[in-house]
Amino acid sequence: MHLIKTTDLAVYAGNVELLQPLSLTLNKGERLTILGQTGSGKSLLAQAIMGNLSESLHCEGNVELFGKSRSLSERKALWGRQLTLLPQEPWNALSPLMTARNQLKETYRLVRGLAESAARTRTEEDLNQFELQAGADKRVDQLSGGMAQRVAITCAMAGGAQVLLADEPTKGLDISRRDHVVGQLKAQAADGVLLTITHDVAVARQTGGRVMVMKDGVLLEEGLAEDVLSTPQHPYTRALISADPAKWWQPPRQVFPEDSEALISARQLTVGRGDQALVSGLNFTVHPGEVVGVVGDSGCGKSTLGDTLLGLIPPHSGLVDRQKGISAHHWQKLYQDPTAAVSHAVPLNVLLTDLVQLHNLDATSVPALMARLGLSETLLQRTASEVSGGELQRFCLLRILLLKPVFLFADEPTSRLDPVTTREVSQLLVDLAREQGCAVMLVSHDPMLIEKRCDRVIQLSA
């Protein structure tokens, strides 16, 4: 008997089709991964199966669970007990004011119906098994992204559900956390069914089982993980796989001798926010045109270092000495979330002309730069909320290039972008450094990306 069987399951917003009719079956012990870029209707599939689509959408087709086709209300009765969903941002999904331990115990007591003492022991078992004791008595906002995700998984499974739908389980996590989370998913859903939805090829490879590749709500390719990922048939799948940094071409690294012209250097530098010091004893020099990578776990002080170098916050101790005689607006920063770094009030070209007028730059070089960055004139008529993350990041780059910067601190510029755009934007950064002799410090939690793009790496330990 199939645990999950959907026939022509489709999702519509009014009469616009967001997800093409899709039929799939999953038996006990099987694993399926839906792979595709963000915003391709993947999570709608999970919500359609689960039955918690938002009011404005409706779905067609039939959903069979545990061998019997279930209406919406019947599926709701299965929530937690047979069928469970792991939502995208786990740190928003856990109740903000309750400790992790209580949220877990609550599920055992109320969903599993265990007595108080039995629920407590089962909770302790889970906490030990998944090494969650450290964050057990903390609130969600005090947990790291990885820890919050793992707590969410245990809570979701505590109800004894056999079918686990995991929506983007590794989004925003560091590489080391990612493998840990995928391992836990596979362990907990061992004797049931695991349907994973992700944009990360490595997660698909690690989960194994079958893979479905989707783009804009359309199923492109399907098959066993090993076959599809090693010999992709569909061109989109091939582009998706080759976007993985591990597959990028490795350019020759430029070496800058010690005595060559120093742009900015740190002497016994300690950086921190407020009264809490994060990293100490930093000594390095950055030369014009050099691309330096900065790697470290999230929260280890990467962006704090950037702000200190740019003079936005004072160093705790030690010295940052910059080359004299360079005006302030030549030291620039590229942000992780482009939508938060640009004003949404006016169209992009207005922002551009503001900048040109402020420093009365020569606007003649703008068209060439725009072509180089793949930005069309019509795109600039729109405001920041009407363009994609990738386009907006390229617009930020355009503004920075206009200022002819000597130093650019790029703080995880591609973590929010999908793989294909990540490759283009990171390549643009390297070209900027080489052509304009501008020093670039590139921050990322993906060591492979840093490996393929930077001349040398600064490792920040937690």
């Binding site: 929530w79 469970t84 939502p87 903000p96 004011l97 109320l110 609130r139 809570c155 979701a156």
Partner: protein, 311 residues
């Protein structure tokens, strides 16, 4: 926490001093001869004449410059004596005690009533929505469109005249407190029930509410275990803001229901230029305001420690 308390204590002293001095300056800048006004307050509006005004001026030493009067008042304040009312000669502390206790009962009754109306209504409208929500929205907007004394009159006409359940005005027994509390409670609830509605809707549409549901908890369990606490934070914070609106209503309702509260008393003290009473009342209200605000801030912090350290 202690750092907060110390800071708020300083603020308390500052506000108490500031408010009473502000009222002193304002009252002293009012036109008309104070002695006459106090005489009118003492002997009644028909019997006030120059001889009684001169006697009052002599008795109370009103000829002394405002600065010396202020110093005199300030030195008394340091010894904890708020002076005597110019009109009745009674110690200000006693008059204020009588007025403040009554205003306190009315305010508390009003707030409790408004919460009893606003919270269930807000949550229900957020939960069901649809026509019920629209009906409550129009009702509360209409209620907010009326000045408080009109609400008071409607409440009297309905409960006291038609139904004869409660006395129209006066004080002394609990039954006297009911109608003013209903009038005040309704005017407050008209605003707070929409705030509760919005906050409840935000909680019900939040991801943690959805995850608790998909985790297997029933609607009621989620609302009870997660919804209430997360809802309490913004609602308690709003109660801090509503304090200011509360006092407006209290002044109106007290004069309509002849409730001997501080709002009503202050209005008379202003007309009769009874400066010590006004200063004393302003002092007490300033202190009460800071204390209540601190209490609300602490309550918010305990409910939701995420707000970082208390400033």
């Amino acid at each position: 926490m202690t750092q907060l308390l110390f800071k708020r204590l300083l603020q308390l002293l500052g506000v108490a001093w500031g408010v009473s001095t502000l009222t002193f300056l304002l009252m002293r800048s009012l036109p008309g001869d104070m002695a006459y006004r106090i005489a009118a307050g003492r002997y009644g509006m028909d019997a006030v004449d120059t001889t009684s005004a001169d006697l009052v001026r002599a008795e109370l030493g009103l000829d002394q410059g405002p600065f010396r009067a202020y110093l005199q008042w300030f030195s008394d304040l340091l010894t904890g004596n708020l002076g005597n009312s110019l009109v009745s000669g009674m110690p200000v502390v006693d008059e204020l005690w009588h007025m403040l206790s009554h205003s306190f009962y009315l305010a508390m009754a009003g707030v409790v009533l408004s919460m009893l109306i606003a919270v269930p209504l807000g949550v229900a409208t957020a939960w069901w929505g649809g026509w019920f929500d629209r009906l409550m929205l129009t009702l509360s907007t209409l209620m907010r469109a009326l000045p408080v004394f009109v609400t008071g009159l409607l409440v009297i006409i309905l409960f006291a005249l038609e139904l004869q359940w409660f006395p129209v005005a006066g004080f002394g027994s609990v039954s006297h407190l009911v109608l003013p509390a209903i009038a005040l409670g309704l005017s407050l609830a008209a605003v707070s029930n929409r705030v509760v509605h919005n906050e409840a809707r935000k909680v019900m549409q939040s991801p943690f509410f959805e995850f608790a549901r998909t985790k297997g908890l029933s609607n009621w369990q989620v609302l009870y275990r997660h919804g209430v606490r997360n809802l309490a934070v913004p609602v308690v914070a709003f109660m801090g803001i509503q304090l200011i609106m509360l006092v407006e209503g209290v002044v109106m309702i007290e004069s309509l229901f002849s409730w001997p509260g501080v709002g009503h008393g202050l209005a008379h003290a202003i007309f009769a230029r009874d400066i010590p009473v006004i200063q004393g009342a302003a002092l007490m209200m300033g202190i009460l305001f800071v204390l209540l605000n601190t209490a609300v801030d602490i309550a918010c912090y305990c409910l939701d420690p995420r707000g970082g350290r208390l400033q």
